[in-house]
Symmetry: D2
């Protein structure tokens, strides 16, 4: 067993920067040896800030570096599957941002390469590593609420993405709800068999013109009988709204949003507090670090990764089923997808 | 205009007693002149406690009393439609506990009689008069949250009714969810066009054997585009759970449960409070009084009643559609019902 | 033992009306036979509303009525001691609004008359009967928080009384803090030995010109070692603020304010709720009823009253000590007061 | 202006380690060049973890290093004054953990040296940099609550320190309350003129035998008329309890404790959440980083430090006055201290 992990980062955008800083500043067990970005200046700048010895415009410089044990794939979504496949061929362990791809064929090809290479693959469903959601999962696992019966997930963004992004996003179910699909499976610890969707456009007509929806409720039928609902909206005027609630046979557990401070102000108008954390990078700061700690630990100590390739594939199936349910206005079984 | 209303009460059971006490002790504008119950002793006892001059085993003694302006129908559910019809024929204004009937034919016949007689009819959907739900409705009406987009109703009983009751209850959708159907229409101020149900038995297998469900999620598609979900369970181990949440274009509003006290205890184990009010008569005490205040006011001052005959009929249609959706495992439009 | 209590009410002002309505409408075990008020019209009006057979301008008509078992003294504060004494002489059980008097000599004379007559006397410290404060007392009694060490009482009025009232009120410590002195003794279940006061005028200079303060902190040293603080202000812009907190060796308990509804509204500005109940009659509605239930029960069933004459006297001693501490800028032992 | 600050750290204990890690991993604008600790192994280990080039047992190696711009004094409390003085002589900017000393003579000598040298000195009252307390200060500064009138600080440790530590701690007022004295001055933005203390031993008799108290309430009289109370206890069974509340003429602001997660669990026993963060290093994590950011910024950009030498001295005066008040059982003016 090695004492620390040599890591290469592909993609020097927002999430690439966050992960590189985490590895550099918060994780003595990891060392970033190289950063690649097609925008070489971005790679160089990040490398300078974090003291990373190599910056390159070619991701292959990372994959071919024999000193590198593991790669973080933080590049554009359309490259995830291909880079995962190539990294597997190169024998690197892989942490890949979600989704690997929006087509099951691409995902399956990448997962096959990973399986063949025998490397570890962890997918970036960071919310599993949030303290509140982790506490809910613990309650379910420990039986604190008995047998789960009903799940409700509220997942609302503070503001919609640009329409240009919406057009290439794969649609709300694959772009936004996919996190909630993962959360549903994670919290209940069982698979979903069927989905039913009601959706519409209430936030921005341009999103509708782009062929997408911005507001939706997705009903989930789990194999173990649990019934779930996901309440999605591209805009919550009060900020980033991320909550879950589970009713079980012996109790219920729910979570609150995260706030920038714990102050409550009362005056002649109301009793109030400041808005919840508005930006996913603030809301989920710790979860981004925690998932890397888990990944580095899994690789260094040859443990199972906590979010597997299968965990990356199933939410895509759910997203495709949700889209089909919406278009066909009927419940759709997951087994109908491929 | 009269100064006060002379009322007759039919049915001296639990809700009959509550209403009689409210009229007697809290409403100077109303006077109870007679109480009828097939169980004469019950009628007599309640009359004695509340100083009501007449107790009778025959409801017709109430309907035929020319001094009585209005009747409260608090008898068994199977008598509501018939008594409403006869009270209308007798020219009495009517406050009828929900539901008027579980068959649309009976309801329609009763409503026709009411229309023909020109009397007022208010139906006992008391939850509309709860301070928290009223505040939510106010927020919607005033535009405090902008245009509503998503509605979520949590409605869970502390414990299931006896199976013997379940068998004659008309099923959970007509017996329990009917209050939530009313709440959904009330809060959003629009009609539902379609329902879709997932349901099962997680509380008591005997309820399943009786042909009913005890756990359900009902998705609602409103005519104005709002998407709603109702989360129902016959048992919440922590007590009576009654909450709503609406997301609108400019904000959201949600409610908390009601508690017997506002004390928070912290010790080496947790930071906690006592369980929410467990019994619907405690949770909704004020709403039962408020609905009578509104009824008496509507009759005395010839105002529209706040909960109409139509408000009684539509939730039954929704309940029938929910049952059909559950049996046929598909979304059901309300227009499919009759 | 009698089945119900015949009561006479002296004083038809605000609290007299509340108590008369409670006895009339909510307590089958009590019957109001007479109401006296120097303002005869007020007595007559209240009698009419509540169906009380006798209204009089002379309180002696109440005291001399042999059918009356007990009297409620709800008249002006300056009459409490004298009426209590006379009622005792007349052999009536007595519920007297607080304070009996602001002079210990008057209180002692009244209490001596009560003792001599062997009648029951309960004093109107209604807050003891509030569900939240009762829950705190229960926690202390049951040992849920172990041995109490620190007590903090927040007691702030929504707005100061008129200066004309301030001038005859006996000063803030005897007029307002007196309730908190009672609460402190009630919650801890021990006596206070010493008080120390810091106070000033922050709300209304006219209160200062009238020789009083409107803002104060009173430190209490209990015989059992508990240290208490009372945080008083004549104005809280956000409404009536009434909270307590106790730290014990095994935990802590605190209370929240009471709100008109449980709705929480989130928008682009804040996450907020409506202001707490603003008026003491709304905040303490149930406590006013509960204290009468306890009084009627104590008289009918010859039980000890829950708030005794001594409970009326001690807070006056504390108020006098507080005034002395403020004037002399030093801690004052209660034994220094007469 | 330099781009980054070269820092030397004196003291490799708990807080020294935290600060070194913060400077190393979270602050690109700072670089740690040397670590000194009389325990050389501790200095070497920390240097190795953080990549610090020099570790030494002699703090003079830090003070004499011409490359070092600023020093962090994180050694034992009894060395703070001397090291501050010597660092000033050496021309280093200084961040010194609180307190500089428990004797005013030592503090004054150190502050004189700092003044003479013209270096910057910031003292480690980290709580000022906590988001919740910062929000309260902001509310006061912005006038959101109008003119402050009453301040209440709750500051309770999860468990008392070892008695051996208590004996050398300078007593609770100088060891624990000193943070609250600073917080009181910071939040109100005014000076305290007089203190009055009630205190006792309720947690551990051994603390009493050591001549100290473990439970206290300290009343503060501010120059601007605000009245404050500090509620201190060495043990809160439910964890670290750190809250403040201010009443102003136009409103009030209060803070909640910090929790490890936002989950609420309801079952047949209670509605509850996990205990608040129990350890000051967890509760105040961000504040420790924020204070260093401010220090580095102040030195690099020649701005005033946010916590001055005077801010270090005044709380010691308050602590000495509190001790005197307790011993003499009377209010003590700060001007009585030296």
């Amino acid at each position: 067993m090695k004492d620390f992990l040599n890591v290469g980062v592909i993609g020097a955008g927002r999430i690439g920067r966050v992960h590189t800083e985490t590895l550099t500043y918060r994780m003595p067990a990891a060392r970033v040896l190289a950063i690649a970005d097609v925008n070489l200046a971005a790679a160089q700048q990040l490398a300078a800030v974090c003291g990373v010895p190599k910056a390159t415009a070619d991701y292959r410089d990372v994959l071919n570096d024999p000193a590198i044990d593991a790669v973080l794939i933080c590049s554009g979504t359309d490259t995830h599957a291909r880079f995962t496949e190539e990294a597997a061929h190169a024998g690197k362990h892989i942490f890949c941002e979600k989704p690997i791809a929006q087509s099951l064929a691409e995902i399956d090809q990448a997962l096959a390469a990973v399986a063949k290479a025998g490397v570890k693959l962890q997918v970036g469903f960071n919310r599993r590593f949030d303290a509140s959601f982790r506490r809910v999962r613990d309650a379910v696992e420990r039986g604190e609420i008995g047998q789960p019966a009903l799940l409700h997930i509220v997942s609302r963004d503070p503001a919609p993405p640009p329409v240009a992004y919406v057009k290439i996003s794969g649609g709300m179910f694959l772009d936004m709800t996919i996190h909630d699909f993962d959360m549903a499976r994670f919290l209940i610890g069982a698979e979903v068999e069927e989905v039913y969707v009601q959706a519409g456009v209430t936030v921005d007509p341009a999103i509708g013109e782009a062929g997408d929806v911005d507001t939706a409720v997705i009903m989930l039928k789990f194999a173990n009988g649990v019934i779930g609902t996901i309440d999605n909206c591209r805009r919550a005027s009060y900020g980033y709204d991320q909550r879950v609630e589970i009713l079980g046979s012996r109790g219920a557990i729910s979570t609150m949003n995260n706030y920038p401070n714990g102050a409550v102000l009362s005056d002649g108008a109301s009793v109030r507090r400041d808005l919840p954390l508005n930006f996913f990078m603030d809301r989920y700061t710790e979860s981004f670090a925690n998932e890397l700690v888990a990944f580095v630990d899994a690789v260094l100590h040859d443990k199972p990764v906590p979010v597997t390739g299968s965990d990356a594939r199933v939410p895509v199936v759910m997203g495709l089923a949700a889209g089909k349910s919406y278009r066909e206005a009927r419940p759709v079984k997951l087994c109908e997808i491929q």
